[in-house]
């Protein structure tokens, strides 16, 4: 009886260990969830989850090892950035010449906004001053043109 109990306890312990190991073994989906956010450092525009080069196969294997060791996605991405540089994330470096790629769109947006504000202000000020300035302009025109204008307006009515 005692040996049966011991066997049962041993079996349960074994199942617990196997269950824990299974829980810690990352699935292909877990690996691809990280790999899809990394770019093959040797190819152009191909993410590691769909890349078939030996280097990508090795990277996926390393991702699996790191996930099994309890590392988070961000930690794994940071590791690969340290190894291969910023390009592995598919984004330009945030320093040197690469910094301009980050700054220029915002600079262009700012310039565009300034231009739009300027144009809108210009239009509204023209509309406000339009009537008065038209009258001033007409007052400075020679009589013969005013007469001609009035005549043409009469004819058109």
């Amino acid at each position: 009886m005692r040996s049966k109990i011991m066997m049962l306890v041993g079996l349960m312990a074994l199942l617990a260990v196997l269950g824990q190991a299974a829980a810690q073994t990352p699935t292909a989906d877990d690996v691809n969830n990280v790999a899809k956010e990394l770019f093959c450092p040797l190819c152009t525009g191909i993410t590691v989850d769909v890349c078939e080069t030996q280097q990508c196969v090795q990277m996926r294997s390393l991702i699996a090892q790191k996930l099994a060791a309890g590392e988070t996605k961000e930690q794994i991405k940071a590791y690969f950035v340290q190894q291969y540089g910023q390009t592995v994330l598919g984004t330009p470096a945030r320093k040197g010449l690469g910094l301009t790629v980050w700054i220029l769109p915002f600079l262009a947006l700012l310039l565009g906004l300034v231009w739009v504000v300027y144009v809108l202000r210009n239009w509204s000020s023209k509309r406000r001053n339009g009537a008065a300035s038209d009258e001033e302009t007409l007052a400075e025109l020679p009589d013969k043109y005013l007469q001609q204008l009035e005549q043409e307006l009469r004819e058109s009515e």
Partner: protein, 193 residues
């Protein structure tokens, strides 16, 4: 009433003056736009010039510091006075495996003749790199090219590639592809003279 305006041209001038006051704001925006476009073009030209700088196959060898797999580090500065064989490799690279034994044999033969071998592991995964070094019994200093900085500084074309650097820090030769014994020994003899 007419204020001296007597021709159609003069009428048009009056109309233009009224409709188009001197516009400082527009001028500022135009200048800013032109400056922005010129700045972008200048940056593009700078980038293209940097990329078109060509191969590093002679002249002073770019300085580097390599973190080694065994925890230490080695820099070109501290190797002044010694000839250096700088080999770029990767564990996924089949031709690198072809030359691995040749390099190790060359290192063992020439390490007492003032020649240092340094292996730079290019775009690799550490467990596979370590397994590669163990498999081929590589004993000279090796480390990962973190951020691909060294391979970029040397404008490395692809692995395997080997740079032969003189004791005064100048690149004497570059060999692209797997080295065979004869090709390596010829260069090592030249370096050790």
């Amino acid at each position: 009433m007419t204020q001296g305006v007597s021709s159609e041209e003069e009428v048009m001038e009056v109309l233009e003056e009224k409709s188009g006051q001197p516009d400082r704001g527009r001028l500022v925006i135009q200048v800013a736009g032109v400056v922005a476009v010129l700045a972008v073009l200048a940056l593009l030209a700078l980038g293209l010039r940097y990329r078109a700088a060509g191969r590093v196959d002679k002249g002073p060898a770019p300085a580097f510091t390599l973190q080694l797999f065994d925890g230490g580090q080695v820099s070109l500065d501290e190797l002044q006075g010694k000839a250096v064989v700088l080999n770029f490799w990767a564990s996924w690279c089949k031709p690198c495996a072809e030359e691995a034994a040749v390099l190790e044999a060359g290192w063992r033969q020439y390490k007492d003749k003032g020649i240092v071998f340094v292996g730079v592991d290019y775009i690799d995964t550490e467990p596979d790199a370590r397994a590669y070094l163990k498999r081929y019994g590589i004993s000279y200093p090796n480390g990962p090219d973190l951020g691909s900085k060294i391979s970029y500084a040397y404008r490395m074309q692809g692995v395997p590639e080997t740079f032969f650097i003189s004791p005064d820090g100048r690149i004497l030769d570059v060999y692209i592809g797997p080295l065979n014994r004869e090709a390596l020994l010829v260069r090592l003899d030249r370096l050790s003279q």
